[in-house]
Symmetry: C2
Subunit: 339 residues, 2 copies
């Protein structure tokens, strides 16, 4: 299994996010207050639907990144709170729209919002949260952060549309896949991190370095996610395996397996991914092909390379604070987790 | 018929929008260039889908309002161009999401985008255009206009969710209906107009006056739209009649008819609007009830009152420029048109 080789390092498997949450506990309380406060509306269905998703948790990794990268440079934490909430609202809006787009059945271990509240309300509450995100940025009053987050939002939408057009397309290259995951996932990580040095009034070199940390961290996280989607261990954690397979998503494991596929295997991918004609045994067959070409480990290796690029953009671990260490370890966690 | 009483004034029935377009022709060319330029993307489906809706026309009333209200006070027209494009992008994004939400079959006389490109792409391209709108505002560089349009966007989404919850609900009051149409339609008209004096650096009293013009104009337009939806004359214009009836939308004609309904009529509305059990003759029966209580004319009278409120916020017609006259006449047009 892809993740077994590194399972000995249990500390980085679970701890860095918890450590970040602990180090930034008071700040996250304020961010959560802002999140709850700003999802209110006189239209009751809005806080109900938004609250349904937000209360179900999620790792809050993006707002934690904004807080950490602001704190790292002694930034204005009041500003960081509002912008962290804004980043989380953009993320939540895209999750709501994704659920409609993917026809998701589950999200964060609960029935997806669109199944509980309907597609219509889910699209519109996504729009509401997206607007609220911009209201929070306007309240912050910096055109710089508005530029960073409006640019990120446009690229996220582009990435999501591009993902639609690559789904089921066996010709999707690894470059195109990396472009999709950069746009749909990593760009918001990058923006969340870049905001930190911006509110700490650091120079553009530092802003760019933290942007690069977030971007490479996000790519590492998403590749690892896409590998873990096929990891049988997931079932023990109550997650379903092979969602991407059933949706015909062209992710790293399939692209790597296709590069080495013989004619018969290519016909298998053509039928299951392009034509979406799947039988019950096909997922097992796909996993056997991943095993044959060791593509899950190769995928995790790619993810680790991006995690290494991420940490190279940070101040050195040895010299840094506990926060700096946690950000370093978070990159290891991204490619070293069981879920 | 509701509109016949005022049909003698043919000039205001069609001309004011054309006159605005003529007076602002060069500016609208620049706005259209910005619209086309900013809907481009390396992901081909984005300009295809956005272009499909944008090329199919529409009245471009919102960008025209921004241009007119800027020009009225000798505002910076370069700024007005970008912001007018931004306003049109917000409008286009909401149309795309509306089509998904309503399951629309047609828009602007063509098959709706969601039926051509699918719901998924339609939601995501809406998100893209919405992000582009904010990028255009950031390029303009004014926190004031960012505040106006992010506030408007949040209220639009709230209005759309509120409309979902009033659909099929016979208890919807006239006040609630007015709240919905203010939010989903009139607030963007208000924002489009308010931006004019902002880029012309006028005082807040003038900004508020133009905001009020747009708000009341938008309410007048929407009430008239909702009345015209039941106007049999629409069929001669190639439009379908009774879309709102089939969707169970609680609009002015039904609310007015319900206020006077006897027990049998109430049962009719209960069955057709609440329970959405409709037979072929029900639309004719609904129209007969509107005739019985003269509710279409009463609705148009409401619309006219809002149009009068709109013009009361403008500089007087006698003293004004051709542009000012056109804005006055536009309010008459809103409630005096055949489509």
């Amino acid at each position: 299994m892809a993740t077994q080789a590194v399972q000995q390092d249990t500390d980085t498997r679970t701890a860095p996010l918890d450590r970040l949450s602990d180090l930034l506990g008071d700040d996250m309380l304020k961010v959560n207050e802002l999140i709850i406060g700003n999802m209110q509306s006189d239209v009751p269905m809005i806080p109900q639907l938004a609250g349904y998703l937000i209360a179900s948790g999620g790792k809050r990794i993006r707002p934690l990144l904004t807080l950490a990268c602001a704190q790292l440079f002694d930034g204005n934490m009041n500003r960081a709170h509002g912008l962290a909430a804004s980043v989380e609202f953009i993320h939540t809006a895209t999750l709501l729209h994704d659920d409609v787009v993917d026809g998701s059945a589950e999200r964060r271990g609960k029935q997806a919002a669109n199944l509980v509240f309907g597609n219509q309300a889910t699209v519109l509450v996504g729009d509401f949260l997206f607007s609220r995100a911009f209201q929070l940025m306007v309240a912050d009053g910096s055109l710089e952060t508005l530029r960073i987050l409006s640019d990120a939002s446009a690229i996220i939408a582009e990435g999501e549309v591009m993902q639609l057009t690559t789904a089921g397309n066996l010709k999707t290259t690894m470059d195109e896949y990396l472009q999709v995951i950069s746009a749909k996932t990593a760009v918001l990580f990058a923006a969340a991190c870049e905001i930190g040095p911006v509110v700490a009034e650091q120079d553009t070199t530092t802003q760019q370095a933290l942007h690069n940390y977030g971007l490479n961290l996000g790519i590492a996280f998403q590749i690892a996610d896409d590998v873990l989607d096929y990891n049988a261990d997931q079932e023990t954690l109550g997650k379903t395996v092979g969602d991407d397979f059933r949706e015909g998503k062209m992710t790293a494991p399939i692209i790597l397996a296709l590069e080495k596929a013989d004619e018969e295997e290519r016909a298998f991918w053509q039928r299951t991914i392009s034509d979406k004609e799947q039988t019950e045994d096909d997922l097992t067959q796909a996993q056997a092909l991943f095993e044959k070409y060791d593509t899950l480990n190769a995928g995790m290796k790619m993810a680790r390379d991006y995690a290494d690029k991420a940490t190279a953009s940070l101040p050195p671990k040895e010299k840094g604070s506990a926060l700096c260490t946690a950000l370093h370890d978070l990159a290891a966690f991204a490619v070293n987790r069981a879920y």
